[in-house]
Each structure stands twice: as C-alpha cells, then as structure tokens.
Symmetry: C2
Subunit: 241 residues, 2 copies
C-alpha cells in the first residue's frame, strides 16, 4: 500500500473561520465516500478535547466526512490500529508529542500510515510527521519525552512559515531561527511551509497545494524559493548520515 | 553575600548597535572599578565564539569593564569558580543550556552566584536563570540534556516579550503561547519582559529598569500589567508545589 499524507501548514488563515480554507482539500484527499477518521486532539491545551473534537467534526461533516476523537477509546493503540484515517490537529507540538509518547502511539501510527492508512495533519500535526519536532515554533511547555517524532518524511517542515517580523522588534526572525537549526543539523532539509499551503505525499511523489512558494533551507546550500509547480520530490530522499 | 543579578530582556533594540542601550546599566551594576568578567558564549550558533567575545568585549571596554570568554579555559568549571562576575549572552537558549549541561556548569554557576558573584545575562542568558528554559522563544535546535536551568529566581522570564503579531499571520501570539504554558505549569509566574527592560535582583529585592510595563501571567489569576514603579518582589517568593 502507498503512504498518503496531507500535511497542512495552518488550520486557519487570519480572519477566516476555523479549518475553513483547507476543507475542500481534505474532501479531495479522502474522496467521495464518507471516511470516519480517528482524531488526535493532544495538541490542544487551552481547549477541552471535547470542544476541539466538535470544531473539527463540524468541518469534516460539511465536506461529507467524519471524525471521532481518540480520547473516547479505552485503548488508544487499538484505536490507531483500527483507524481508517488518522487526523492530528494543531496546537502545542510539545504537548502533542508528549501525549503521543506517553500513550506509546509513535510506532503504531508510523506502522499504520506506512501501511497505507491516510494521514491528515495541520500545524503541529504536520510537524510530527518529520524526524523530530525540532522545527516547531511552539513554546516548550512540557518535556516531550524525547524529540523524535513519526519520521514519515525525511525532512523537517516549519509550519506557519513567516517572512516578516513585527516592526521595531529586536528578536530573531523565523529565517534566523532556521539558520541556527541547519548550522547544528547539517544533513536535514527544512521546508518553510507558508500559511495557506499544504503538502500532498503519495508514495514517492509529493506536490504542494497553495499559491505560495516553499522556502528551502539546508546547511551549505543557498536558501531558496521553490514554486509549487517545480519538482521537489528530492526532499523525500533520505539524507545520508 | 547577597545574590546580585542583572537580567536584560534583549541585547539590542531594533536599529541600534549591538548591546548599546544597556551598556550604562552594565556599568552601574558593576561599579567604577574595572571588573574582568567571565563570558559564556554558548548561545552563539551562527557566530564564532571568538567573534562573539570580541563584540561583547568592545562594549564592556567602552564602559570601563572587561570580559574573557570561557572557551579559552581548559577547565570551564574552574573558570567559573574563579570568576569575579559571570556574563551569559543571548542567542539560542537550547544550545546554551546544552553546552552548560555538557560542561557540567549548572551547579558551579548556581553556587557561585548564590554566593554573591554578580551575574549579567541578556535574552537566553536571562532565561537560564529561571527554573527551566520552558519560556524561551527559540527553536529547539538541539536536545538541551534536560530542561532544568540555573533556578536562581523562582519565576519564569519570557524575554523579548512582544504584544503584536505580524498582520495577516494565523499563528499564535506570544500571549497565546504563555497561556498554554501556565495551563500546564500552574504554580509558576511568567514575567513577560518587554524589549528595552531589565530586572535588577539584589538579595530579596528586585526592581525593573526600563520604561515599559511587565506583563504578568499565572494560572487562575488575571493576566496583568505591572509598572516599573510598582512592587513585585512577591515574584521572588518560591511557589508552593
């Protein structure tokens, strides 16, 4: 079976309704027949899991699909093993990865998705498909019990990639931060995925949906812009370490 | 001996020269007689330690003081034990804490500073005086070998505290991120220290230098603004856990 991933930069564009802009892409990815997805709400910190589930369920229902949250299952590993699609929402990546580790879900999800069960993630949920969580923008509010993530793709996504800084602010830009990452992690590509954009991975093929370029970083290479129309499947090649 | 800390939010205000705005405060803190400080450059990632030392040395020299970087010493622990003042510069907090742990410097610095050796930090160098690094804004480019930091003060500083977001960006604001932190870490105060501001701690007394309010967060309490003229020594009281 072919691995299938829909990796969305951000749930919500500024000023729009929650998870509104990518709903038709979610529909296209899942197809016409209603899929009841397993939803993992662990990244939600200042929202209850019930409320989080409700928000996501409403949007999936709008496009003819459905979700049920993993917190309703007594055995989360079994819930993963029996899922028809796995959906991981955004929030705090540290909290998400902590709960995935604490519930021993990393290997089961990895195995399941490599076996062909479709996967949809946004923001933190896209970040955790990378080798590690190390290109997150989130505050480390909890020890994640290890930085290793699902390692479904061999490069790092920086979701919500942002070009600008707040005017008059002296702190680092997003680019500054990623340049620090590649200085210390020299083998790994970092894809700055701007808001409104998403990756679709199907086996050894990958494309971008969205109108904005990818910004690509690697140690020893010039940082560059890649248009959605260009070929960037080379990102799926495992780096030699 | 009384513990003495100068904890600066940011080295440099936007558009100004490196470490320029706080140089007179550094002078006031160290006094008239030249102090040769031990400088810890570990947070520097995209700058060599020699270059980082040079930049900081130039500014300290301007106000009649001096530094030497710890990377010139064969025995960093001994260098700390013999220091007249410890200065930790900004950069990446994860890299800084990693190198502090790897060189086994946490306990020696803590002991030395509790014993009365003055301490100056900015940005990451202020963050590591807190119980943990968990209110950093930096990208986790390396496993820090433990989130625990110097624990010289019992509350968390968020340096470079920022009110605004980039317009049109859907990602979290700084306030959103800190609200996530206090949801999970309910006993701890977080002080959002705006750029251009610094704490001066002398024993059980603390004041702010700077023109801007502190923004104070704690679980179960209304988030509030504290003017530099107000009394906030309660922050130095250890929380009951």
């Amino acid at each position: 079976m072919t691995m299938r991933l829909l990796l969305i930069s951000n749930s919500t564009n500024a000023g729009e309704a929650y998870l509104d802009y990518p709903k038709h892409n979610i529909h296209d990815f899942l197809g016409e027949k209603c899929v009841k997805c397993l939803f993992i709400p662990y990244a939600g910190v200042t929202v209850t899991w019930d409320d989080y589930e409700k928000k996501v369920k409403n949007r999936f229902n709008e496009v003819g699909h459905d979700i049920v949250s993993i917190h309703h299952f007594d055995d989360p590993v079994k819930a993963v093993e029996e899922a028809d699609c796995i959906v991981i929402g955004g929030g705090n990546t540290w909290k998400l990865l902590h709960d995935m580790h604490a519930n021993k879900l990393i290997e089961p999800i990895r195995k399941k998705v490599l076996g062909g069960t479709p996967y949809i993630g946004w923001s933190a949920g896209s970040n955790v498909t990378c080798p590690t969580l190390m290109t997150t923008n989130d505050m480390p509010i909890i020890d994640p019990l290890g930085f290793d993530a699902l390692n479904l793709i061999p490069f790092q996504i920086n979701p919500h990639y942002l070009d600008k800084k707040v005017e008059g602010h002296g702190g680092e830009s997003r680019e500054d931060r990623i340049l620090e990452f590649i200085e210390v992690n020299r083998e790994v590509y970092v894809a700055g995925l701007r808001e409104g954009c998403m990756f679709v991975v199907e086996g050894d093929k990958m494309r971008i949906i969205g109108q904005r370029n990818l910004r690509l970083f690697k140690y020893g290479e010039e940082t560059r812009e890649i248009a959605p129309t260009e070929d960037f499947t080379f990102l799926l090649k495992k780096p030699m370490i």
